[in-house]
């Protein structure tokens, strides 16, 4: 698949926003909301997730063993196991099974075309099984309603679990009425479903072979587990006398007891149901009798698992035949890949898609590769189809990390996206316009990185220069020709307000008012009036706080001092967040080491590192695990705090909120936390601080503001970003005061609401009024 150009991509996204976005949003956000409810109602959720993950880790670790085990088990049951290297191998095998089965038993049904009914298998989408079978003269009918709609419409899935969620009921009705021309036009969901059921039942009863996927395969008993709501997977598996189950090798788990946590969690994560309607555990060939609908007068129990002569004579030996096809198709290589291996823990529940705000807006067709879509798709596509397929949509992950809490097996999906982005960067071609970003890309990153990426990935250097030349730089960035150049070369949409740089950085401001010594004197004065809390703070001036939004930095300093805490605001290195968003891991890695080195002594001296920008804190608390030695990571993580979390801790330990700007007890404030901050469970402390200080905060539940760092600046994503932002804006617009923790969130809201949206700390700072 060739990569689209920026404007082609913009057009495609615009088109999807108009056509499929609405239906996808309705479905995916409803599943997401139910997931929250069900997760909340599950007492042992965290234990369940940890258990599920550890089972998967262990299973992938000993996968070759499990393949041997399942082969023995299935063969002992009388079935066959085939490990297919790739798509072609798997397809040829299945076609072969169908042919030999129909040769041996004759073709069921009325015509002379061998027929197959299918259920529940994303894996067969991955290998394009239908096309392959049809090329062999075999008729294939999908029996999952969603899949069947796609088959009739000649469309592709847009979601792992709800493949047709991008098509509305009206569109399905139109499609069916045109295709099947029923006596009475179909209209309601009920009518459509009945029609589909009757139509599909004809196919199921006459099929020669039933094909299913498998959600899990229990190795030591050879048990295929199918998790469904409709019931057709069972019909496909047990109605025809031959069943082929196709599953990626990663679906193997060791024993029956390992299945329990997955049965418990998969529906919760997928649709928010406590459990699915049907959890089918088949250790085929099963004992269920084969029902021969061509011999209607035959008692069903006359065939069955036993060989029956009469049945044999009628061409139906009554014996069940079972084949388990385990698909490699790149998975064994993924297993060897330290970064992509986690992808194999995925149980394909789709929760990552449902929690993804960009997915809600453009759906899987904007957000998918050749087969898989949504958050984890980058990992899957990179593994099974290659980097190009993953690159196509990798950009749509803003790294907001909301999927991290959704994933039942705790996969760090944003990290996989970052890794793939990094690899995509390294395989690209260098472009023109080098002069603009010359000197930005560190030597560590190979060529091939686009200018936009280099620009945003080195935003600290850019901001420093811009601040030094402000207000000239601010004036320049407002000038049309400059905006045109920025758009052409860096892809920065000209409709977007650019940050306006302060001439005096936060660090300089702090120095000019006397630095750490003066701060200590101020804190001591405050301390003499109230409870003594013996802490000292190093405030981390991230790029935005330092050069763009110095107000929130100043508010943080004044707040801490007034609570008796001396502050220092040193000139610290970038956190690496910007580089990570661009997939420049080597740069981020180096920046992480520098930042750690720069604060190590403070930490050793017992000082706390306080961070204002949540995305930088998230880098330190999440991604640094991958970038620093374990001990350094732990040390930095456990001594660094988000500003409001820190203030909350001070108040809990006796600091007096009266020193701050307090409300009258029920002053309404709309609060938008920040996606990464929420993933770190840091929304609650801010809410608690606001409450303690006399405000009545109401939090937004939109997953993300849609801006997420540099994402919203990019021309191809401008409309998408605004659409996502609108959802947030409509939630908060009624409130007299709106506060947001993240810079991007604040920017996005300020644009949409056309008013000031300060950081909560600006509301709380002594004598601080937000406006």
């Amino acid at each position: 698949m060739a990569q689209r150009t920026r404007s082609e991509r913009a057009d495609r996204i615009r088109q999807l926003l108009e056509t499929e976005g609405g239906a996808v949003h309705a479905h995916a956000s409803a599943s997401n909301a139910r997931r929250y409810e069900t997760y909340d109602a599950t007492d042992d959720l965290e234990a369940l997730r940890i258990e599920a993950r550890s089972i998967k880790e262990a299973a992938i670790d000993r996968l070759p063993d499990l393949i041997d085990t399942v082969r023995e088990a299935v063969e002992a049951n009388g079935g066959t196991v085939y490990v297919a290297d790739d798509a072609a191998d798997a397809n040829a095998y299945v076609a072969d099974v169908v042919e030999s089965r129909t040769d041996a038993a004759g073709i069921a049904g009325d015509d002379d075309t061998p027929s197959v009914v299918k259920s529940k298998s994303m894996t067969t989408e991955e290998i394009d099984l239908n096309d392959a079978l049809e090329a062999n003269g075999i008729a294939v009918t999908e029996t999952d309603l969603g899949e069947w709609v796609l088959q009739v419409a000649d469309d592709t899935p847009s979601h792992i679990v709800g493949p047709a969620m991008h098509i509305s009921r009206e569109e399905i009705a139109e499609l069916f009425n045109e295709t099947f021309d029923p006596d009475e036009p179909l209209e309601t969901a009920e009518e459509l479903t009945r029609f589909a059921r009757d139509h599909l039942w004809e196919h199921i009863r006459e099929a020669d072979v039933g094909i299913t996927g498998a959600n899990f395969v229990v190795a030591d008993t050879g048990t295929i587990t199918l998790v469904t709501n409709e019931g057709n997977a069972r019909k496909c598996a047990v109605t025809p006398d031959t069943h082929v189950a196709i599953a990626g090798v990663e679906k193997l788990i060791p024993t029956l007891s390992d299945l329990e946590p997955f049965v418990d969690i998969i529906a919760k994560s997928a649709t928010g149901q406590p459990i699915s309607q049907y959890v089918t555990m088949l250790s085929p060939p099963t004992d269920s009798p084969t029902v021969d609908f061509d011999a209607p007068e035959e008692p069903i129990t006359s065939g069955g698992a036993s060989t029956d002569e009469a049945a044999a004579a009628s061409g139906h030996a009554g014996e069940r035949d079972f084949h388990l096809v385990l698909l490699d198709n790149g998975r064994m290589d993924m297993r060897e890949d330290d970064q992509l291996r986690e992808t194999l823990y995925c149980i394909r529940c789709g929760a990552c898609s449902n929690s993804c705000t960009n997915f809600h807006t453009v759906g899987g067709h904007g957000f998918g590769g050749e087969t898989y879509s949504g958050g984890i798709a980058t990992g899957w596509e990179a593994g099974v189809h290659g980097r190009e397929s993953a690159a196509e949509f990798n950009d749509l992950c803003t790294g907001c990390s909301r999927c991290v809490d959704a994933c039942p097996v705790k996969i760090d999906i944003p990290w996989i996206n970052t890794v793939v982005r990094d690899r995509v960067n390294r395989s690209g071609e260098p472009e023109a316009y080098d002069f603009l970003v010359d000197g930005l890309t560190p030597d560590l990153e190979g060529g091939g990185i686009s200018h936009g990426k280099r620009f945003f990935g080195n935003i600290g250097t850019v901001a420093k220069a811009a601040s030094a030349t402000a207000p000239v730089s601010n004036w320049l960035t407002d000038v049309d020709p400059v905006r045109g150049l920025l758009e052409r070369t860096l892809g920065i949409d000209r409709r977007r307000d650019l940050p306006s740089f302060e001439r005096t950085s936060l660090v300089d401001w702090f120095r000019s008012r006397g630095g750490a010594d003066a701060s200590k004197r101020r804190a001591d004065r405050a301390r003499s009036r109230g409870a003594a809390i013996d802490r000292e703070v190093v405030l981390y001036a991230d790029v935005y706080t330092n050069y763009v939004d110095t107000d929130r930095g100043k508010a943080a300093v004044r707040t801490l001092e007034s609570l008796g805490i001396p502050v220092n605001v040193p000139d610290l290195p970038e956190s690496g967040r910007a580089a990570l968003s661009q997939g420049m891991i080597a740069t981020a890695d180096r920046q992480a080491s520098r930042l750690y080195a720069a604060v190590a002594e403070d930490i050793d001296a017992g000082r706390d590192v306080v961070v204002i920008e949540p995305s930088d804190l998230a880098a330190i608390h999440r991604e640094y695990e991958r970038l620093l030695p374990e001990e350094s990571f732990e040390r930095l993580r456990s001594n660094s705090y988000e500003i409001c979390e820190y203030v909350y801790g001070l108040l809990e330990n006796g600091a007096d909120p009266a020193a701050l700007s307090t409300g009258d007890g029920d002053e309404p404030v709309a609060y938008h936390s920040h996606c990464q901050q929420r993933t770190l469970d840091l929304e609650a402390p801010t809410v608690a601080v606001l409450e303690r200080c006399g405000y009545a905060p109401d939090t937004s539940d939109a997953e993300c503001c849609g801006m997420a760092g540099s994402f919203g600046y990019k021309r191809e994503y401008y409309e998408l970003s605004m659409e996502v932002g609108e959802r947030l804006a409509t939630q908060v617009e009624g409130a007299p005061t709106v506060v947001a923790s993240g810079t991007s969130c604040g920017d996005q809201l300020e644009t949409l609401l056309e008013r000031d949206v300060p950081h909560p700390i600006e509301l709380l700072a002594p004598d601080g009024s937000p406006t």
Partner: protein, 168 residues
């Protein structure tokens, strides 16, 4: 304890719009007869003193199975926590009888109602050890949202009743 478990089961089923009837073994046959819609097919009940009513065809032909409006089967056990019944794949056709007709009447002994999934998995493991290794956990009614709204009874039964045999 058992009473609580059945109560929990009943509440879970209520949420799924599945009826639960508690029946003494001696009255079971008559009660089943009242619940089913004919034509009905069934699988012989393995509970002492409990027989299927005469009107229910056991060992149905393919045509009878297809025409049936109700299927009556025993289930190995149930899980109160989720309102789940465990239908086993048996040579006498419990699986198709439970699956194809629009209505499924599942008969379970009170002592086989397990409290939660974990206890259910213990029972499942016992069954596997004893050689019953194909089981369906059926919870509520077949459902789909793929046509734009939630519709029940798409491929599996759209109407389920559970009969709990008491005092055994």
């Amino acid at each position: 304890m058992t009473v609580d478990t059945v109560g929990r089961f009943e509440r879970a089923l209520e949420g799924l719009e599945v009826g639960l009837e508690r029946v003494a073994a001696a009255d079971a046959s008559e009660r089943i007869e009242r619940i089913v819609q004919e034509p009905a097919v069934g699988v012989a009940l393995p509970f002492d003193g409990v027989t299927l009513p005469e009107s229910i065809t056991t060992e149905p032909t393919a045509a009878e199975l297809e025409a049936a409006r109700t299927g009556v089967t025993p289930v190995g056990f149930a899980i109160a926590e989720y309102g789940t019944v465990a239908v086993e794949s048996t040579p006498d056709g419990a699986e198709p009888v439970a699956l194809y007709p629009e209505r499924h009447v599942a008969v379970v002994a009170e002592s086989d109602v397990m409290s939660d999934l974990s206890a259910g998995f213990d029972r499942l493991a016992d069954g596997f050890d004893a050689g019953r290794d194909s089981v369906v956990f059926a919870t509520g009614r077949s459902a789909t949202g793929d046509m734009g709204e939630l519709v029940h009874g798409v491929h599996g039964p759209g109407d389920v009743t559970v009969i709990v045999l008491e005092g055994r």
